[in-house]
C-alpha cells in the first residue's frame, strides 16, 4: 500500500514539472489545434489553377472557344499566350507554367473538313505526378469538347462507365489529411516530449537521484510518461473535435474504439521516447533523433502521402517497423470507413508489441545505472 502511494508521489511530481513550464504546456496544447486548422484547410491533393501557356497557331473562332474552355475550368489558368515554341523552355525554367498547349495551324479547318484536329501538350516533367494529373484533366476537357462536336451523332456500341467514390464521395482531401496529420502530431509529440524532458533530468543530474530512490526504476520511468500520456490523450480529443466540427470529417465508426486505439498508440510513442532517452545523454541529441530522425520516416512510411504498395520490397519491409503506418491504418479504418475491431485487431496487436518492446529496452537500459 505504501509502495503504491509512493508512485503517486512520483507521478504528482512529474505533473508539477510539466505544469510549471507554462510556455511548453501552451505549445503542447495549442500546436495540434493550429496544425489541424492550418493543414486541414490548406492541404489538398487536387491539382488546380495550374498556369498554362497556349500557342495558338490556328487562331480562329473555334480555337478561341477552345482556349476559353481551358480558362473557364477551375483547373487551369491561361497565363501566357505565345507565338513561338522556343519560348516554352524559358517559361518552364522560370517555373511560370506547368503545361504548354500547342494548337496546330488549320486546327478548325482540319477538324471541320477532315474530321481530324491535332493538339500537342507539353508538360513540365520536373514534377511528374502533377504534370500527368494536369495532362489528364486537359485531355478530359478536350474529350468533352469532342463529345459536344459529335452532338446527336452517337457512336455505336458505347460502353458507359459509372464511377463512384466510396467513403469520400466528394474526394475531400481532409479525409486523407486528418488521419495523417493526427498520426504525425501524436507520434512526434509523444516521442519528443518524453525523450527531451527525461534527458534534461539526466543532464541536470536529477535522474541519478530519482533512480537511487527506493522506488523500483520501472515505476520511476513509467511515472515520467504518465503526465504526457494524459496530455497527448487530451490532444486526441481536441484533434477529433476539430476534425468533426470544424473540418467536417465525421467519425463513421465507434468513437470509443478510436479513443482506445489512440491511447494504445500514445503508449507506443511514449515508450519510444523513453527508449530514446535511455540511450542518449544530451538534450540536443535526443531532440535530433526524435525530431529530424523521426519526422521524415514517420511521414513517408505512414502510407498517408505515399502508398506503401508502391515502394520497393525492402522499403515495404522497413515500413513495418514504423508505428505510424499501423496507427494511420487504424484511424482510417475506424474514422473514415467505419470498420470495427475485427478489422484492426492485427494493427493493435502490433502496436502493443512495439510498446512492450521499447518499454522493456528502456527499463533494461535504466536499471544498471543503479548498480
Amino acid at each position: 500500500m505504501k509502495f503504491r502511494s509512493k508512485s503517486f508521489v512520483f507521478i504528482f511530481k512529474e505533473f508539477k514539472h510539466v505544469l510549471r513550464d507554462r510556455r511548453s504546456l501552451f505549445f503542447l496544447m495549442a500546436q495540434p489545434v493550429m496544425m489541424m486548422l492550418l493543414f486541414g484547410f490548406a492541404l489538398s491533393n487536387e491539382v488546380k489553377e495550374s498556369n498554362i501557356a497556349v500557342i495558338d497557331q490556328s487562331n480562329d473562332l473555334e480555337t478561341i472557344k477552345l482556349i476559353d474552355r481551358f480558362e473557364q475550368s477551375k483547373y487551369f489558368h491561361v497565363a501566357e499566350r505565345l507565338t513561338n515554341t522556343n519560348e516554352i523552355d524559358r517559361l518552364f525554367r522560370q517555373g511560370r507554367i506547368r503545361l504548354a498547349i500547342i494548337i496546330h495551324s488549320n486546327f478548325a479547318n482540319n477538324l471541320n473538313h477532315l474530321n481530324q484536329g491535332q493538339i500537342q501538350i507539353i508538360a513540365d516533367g520536373s514534377d511528374p505526378n502533377t504534370a500527368s494529373i494536369a495532362t489528364s484533366y486537359l485531355s478530359a476537357i478536350l474529350r468533352d469538347y469532342q463529345n459536344e462536336l459529335l452532338g446527336d451523332k452517337k457512336l455505336p456500341y458505347s460502353i458507359a462507365v459509372e464511377t463512384r467514390m466510396l467513403y469520400n464521395p466528394q474526394l475531400k482531401s481532409a479525409f486523407n489529411f486528418v488521419p495523417g496529420v493526427m498520426t504525425l502530431i501524436l507520434m512526434l509529440l509523444g516521442a519528443m516530449m518524453t525523450s527531451v524532458s527525461i534527458v534534461r533530468e539526466k543532464e541536470q543530474g536529477s535522474m541519478e537521484l530519482l533512480l537511487a530512490s527506493p522506488i523500483n526504476p520501472i515505476r520511476v520511468v513509467i511515472s515520467k510518461a504518465i503526465p504526457y500520456l494524459l496530455l497527448a490523450f487530451l490532444n486526441v480529443v481536441i484533434i477529433l473535435f476539430i476534425a468533426v466540427f470544424v473540418l467536417n470529417v465525421p467519425i463513421q465508426g465507434s468513437v470509443f474504439l478510436l479513443l482506445m486505439s489512440s491511447l494504445l498508440f500514445i503508449s507506443t510513442t511514449l515508450s519510444l521516447g523513453l527508449f530514446i532517452s535511455s540511450v542518449t545523454e544530451q538534450q540536443q541529441v535526443a531532440m535530433f533523433i526524435s525530431l529530424i530522425g523521426l519526422l521524415m520516416p514517420a511521414l513517408v512510411f505512414s502510407g498517408f502521402m505515399f502508398p506503401i504498395e508502391n515502394m520497393p520490397k525492402i522499403m515495404q519491409i522497413i515500413s513495418n517497423i514504423v508505428p505510424t503506418r499501423w496507427y494511420y491504418a487504424i484511424v482510417r479504418a475506424i474514422m473514415i470507413k467505419g470498420l470495427g475491431l475485427s478489422s484492426i485487431w492485427k494493427e493493435c496487436l502490433i502496436l502493443a508489441g512495439m510498446t512492450f518492446f521499447f518499454m522493456t529496452l528502456a527499463i533494461k537500459k535504466f536499471k544498471p545505472r543503479l548498480q
Binding site: P128, T163, M165, L171, M287, K337
Partner: protein, 378 residues
C-alpha cells in the same frame, strides 16, 4: 586597450568551432543522418501511381468480360488482386486495404452492348486517398475506352476517314521523359534536411548556452551582439554548405542525378538561403527559454516547412490565404530553386525573383532576431 574587432571575431569563431567539434555525437548526427535519409527516403517516397490493386466482379462471364479482364491485367497500372462473385465480397477487400478499385461487370453486359447499342460498367474507388482513387479510375476509364474502340471496330466497319470529328492529343513530358520520381524528390528532400539541420542545431546551440548559464558570461565580455550572432551563424553556415555538398554527391552516387544547371548557381542560392534558414533558428532561440520549448516550437515550424513547402503537394492547389503564408516560407523557395536548377537547368536570370525573396526573408528574420536579443538582454 580594447581588442580589435577582428581579434574578437576570430576568438569567437574558435570557441564555436571547438564546441561543435568537441562533441562528436552531434557532429556525426548532423552529417550522417541527413545523408542517410536522403538516400533512403526517395526510394520510398515514390508518388507515381502504379500498382493499383483492383478487384473485379464479373457477373457476366461472357467472352467480352473476359477480354476486358485480360486487357486490365495486361496493363502496367493494375494488379488484378481477386475476382469476386459479388460486390459485397469485393467491398470487403477495399475495407481491408487489399484493393483500391472495384470494377463490376453486370449480368448480360455483352448482350446489352450488342442488342441495345450501349451498356454500363460500374467502377467504385476507395475515396480516402483521393489521388489514387482519381488517377486509378481515370486509367481504368482509359482502358475501357480502348476496349470499347476495339469492339466497335470489330463490329462495324468504320470508314477510313472518320465521320466523327476527332481531336488527337499528343502529350510529352519534358526534362524527365522517363518519369523518374527521385529526380523530383531528391532536391526537395535535400532542401528540407539542410533547413532542419541548420535551423535546429543553430537554435539548440544558443538555447543550450542560455540553459547552462554561459550566455550570461558571454554577455559581459566586450563582444558586440552582431559578433555573437555572426559567431553562431558562420559555423552552421559552413556545415550547411557541407551538407549540401554531401547531399549532391549522394544524389549522384545513388540516384545518378547530375545537375543540368551550373553548380555555382546551386551554391550561390544555397549560400543566401542558409542565412534565411539559420535566421529561423536564431529567431526561434530568442523566443524560448529552454530546449524543451525549442523542440516543441521547432516541431511546429518543421511541420509547416514540410507540409506547406511544396514538397509533395503543389502550392497553387492551396487556398489563397495559405499561398500567402507559403510565400513567407523560405523552404518553398529553396525547394523550387533546387529543383529548377538541377532538373531544368534554370539560371540565376530565370530565378532572380526567388533570389530577391530569399534575400528579403533572410534580412527580415535576422534583423528580427537581433532586435529581439537586444530587448531581452538590455
Amino acid at each position: 586597450m580594447r581588442p580589435s574587432a577582428f581579434y574578437i571575431m576570430r576568438t569567437i569563431l574558435e570557441k564555436e568551432f571547438r564546441q561543435i567539434f568537441r562533441n562528436p555525437t552531434i557532429l556525426r548526427m548532423i552529417i550522417v543522418m541527413p545523408i542517410f535519409q536522403l538516400i533512403l527516403i526517395p526510394l520510398a517516397a515514390d508518388y507515381e501511381i502504379k500498382n493499383i490493386n483492383i478487384t473485379i466482379v464479373d457477373q457476366d462471364h461472357s467472352s467480352y468480360s473476359r477480354q476486358l479482364l485480360h486487357k486490365i491485367d495486361a496493363s502496367k497500372y493494375f494488379i488484378v488482386r481477386t475476382l469476386m462473385p459479388d460486390f459485397e465480397h469485393a467491398l470487403n477487400n477495399v475495407e481491408q486495404n487489399v484493393s483500391d478499385l472495384i470494377l463490376t461487370i453486370p449480368n448480360h453486359f455483352e448482350q446489352q452492348l450488342i442488342r441495345e447499342n450501349k451498356a454500363t460498367l460500374q467502377v467504385s474507388a476507395d475515396g480516402v486517398n483521393g489521388t489514387k482513387a482519381g488517377l486509378g479510375s481515370a486509367y481504368l476509364s482509359m482502358i475501357i475506352n480502348d476496349f470499347n474502340r476495339e469492339i466497335r471496330e470489330s463490329l462495324v466497319q468504320l470508314p477510313r476517314r472518320s465521320d466523327f470529328p476527332q481531336v488527337e492529343i499528343y502529350s510529352s513530358l519534358w526534362y524527365n521523359p522517363f518519369v523518374r520520381y527521385p529526380l523530383f524528390m531528391v532536391p526537395g528532400i535535400l532542401a528540407l534536411l539542410v533547413t532542419m539541420v541548420g535551423a535546429l542545431m543553430c537554435s539548440l546551440n544558443i538555447v543550450h548556452e542560455k540553459e547552462i548559464g554561459t550566455m550570461e558570461q558571454l554577455n559581459v565580455t566586450p563582444m558586440k551582439k552582431y559578433q555573437f550572432i555572426l559567431g553562431k551563424l558562420i559555423p552552421f553556415w559552413i556545415l550547411g554548405l557541407l551538407t549540401i555538398t554531401l547531399g549532391l554527391v549522394a544524389g549522384f552516387l545513388v540516384y545518378h542525378i547530375v545537375s543540368i544547371g551550373s553548380l555555382w548557381t546551386i551554391y550561390l542560392f544555397s549560400a543566401v538561403y542558409l542565412f534565411a534558414a539559420l535566421g529561423v533558428g536564431l529567431l526561434l532561440s530568442t523566443l524560448v527559454d529552454n530546449q524543451l520549448q525549442a523542440t516543441l516550437f521547432s516541431f511546429f515550424i518543421m511541420m509547416f516547412f514540410v507540409m506547406m513547402g511544396g514538397l509533395y503537394t503543389p502550392l497553387e492547389s492551396m487556398p489563397h490565404w495559405a499561398q500567402i503564408l507559403a510565400d513567407g516560407n523560405p523552404v518553398s523557395y529553396f525547394i523550387r530553386v533546387l529543383r529548377a536548377i538541377i532538373i531544368k537547368g534554370s539560371t540565376l536570370g530565370d530565378l532572380w525573383k526567388d533570389m530577391r525573396a530569399m534575400i528579403i526573408i533572410a534580412i527580415v528574420l535576422n534583423s528580427l532576431a537581433i532586435l529581439n536579443y537586444r530587448k531581452r538582454m538590455g
